[in-house]
C-alpha cells in the first residue's frame, strides 16, 4: 500500500484514505482558443515515465485536495504540497 503525506493533516497515512484526481497543474485555457487546444486541455495528459505531479484528495480524512509528485516507475510518492502552491523542484530535476 502506498503511504501518502497529507499536507493539511501533517500525517503520513495509508492510500486507502485517499482518492486519485488526475494530473495536477492543468490550466484551463480561455474558451475562445482553437478546438485543438481545447481538446488537448480536456484529454491530452503528459503520462510521464518518472516523477508525475498529480492531484489527490484526502477523501476519508480532512476532505482537502492537494498535489503530490509520484514516481510512476517505483510508485513512490516523492513529495506532497498544498493546492495552490507551485510545483516544488526536486533534486535531479532538469532545469
Amino acid at each position: 500500500m502506498i503511504l501518502i503525506h497529507c499536507p493539511y493533516c501533517d500525517e503520513t497515512l495509508p492510500e486507502a484514505e485517499f482518492t486519485y484526481a488526475g494530473e495536477a497543474h492543468v490550466v484551463r485555457p480561455d474558451p475562445s482558443v482553437s478546438d485543438e487546444t481545447w481538446r488537448d486541455f480536456l484529454y491530452i495528459r503528459s503520462n510521464p515515465k518518472g516523477p508525475h505531479a498529480e492531484r489527490w484528495r484526502h477523501a476519508h480524512g480532512c476532505g482537502r485536495y492537494f498535489n503530490a509528485i509520484r514516481d510512476t516507475v517505483s510508485d513512490r510518492v516523492l513529495t506532497t504540497y498544498k493546492a495552490g502552491e507551485s510545483k516544488p523542484v526536486l533534486p535531479g530535476d532538469v532545469k
Binding site: D10, E17, A59, H60, G61, R64
Partner: protein, 165 residues
Amino acid sequence: MADVTIRTLTRAARFSVRCGEADRTAAAEALGVPLIGTIGAIAVAGPRRSLCLGPDEWIVAAPLEDGPAMTAAFAASPAVGSLVEVTNRDVTFAITGPGGEELLAHGCPRDLSKLAPGRGVRTVFDGVSVVLWRFDDRFEMTVWRSYVPFVEALLSAAAREMQAA
C-alpha cells in the same frame, strides 16, 4: 485473548460545523465548546465536545436536549459559517477494552497506536467513512446510519474471531 466490548451509544445531538479562521471563536462561543484549529484535536466542555476534522470543519456532539438551544445560539451569533444538524445521520459505537485497537485494525488501515487518547480522526473502516474518537478508556466510532448493519456485522464477527483465538 484480548478483551473487547462493543455497544451502541444512545443518540446525541450532533452538528457539522464549517467556518473560517476569523469566525472560529464566535462560533465556539455560540456552541458552548471550543473549536480547536488543529486537525485531530478534541475539545471538551462539560457534556459537549468538538473534534476538528479538516482545516475549516468540526463535528460537535452534545446531549440530545441541548440541540435546539445550540442551533438558536448559533443563529443569533455574529459568526459567519454553516451549522448542519446531523443527529439523525449518525450512529456511534463505543469500543472498550484492551483489544480495541486490534478490533478496529480489522477494517481501519491506519496505525491506531499512533492515535493518542484525546485525539480523533475521520478515517475509513472497510470502505466506510467513519469518525473515530479515542479516549483514555475507549474508542468511539461514528458511522452513517445506512452503513450500520454492515459495520456492526463486521465488528461483531471480528470480536468473535478474537475471542476464538
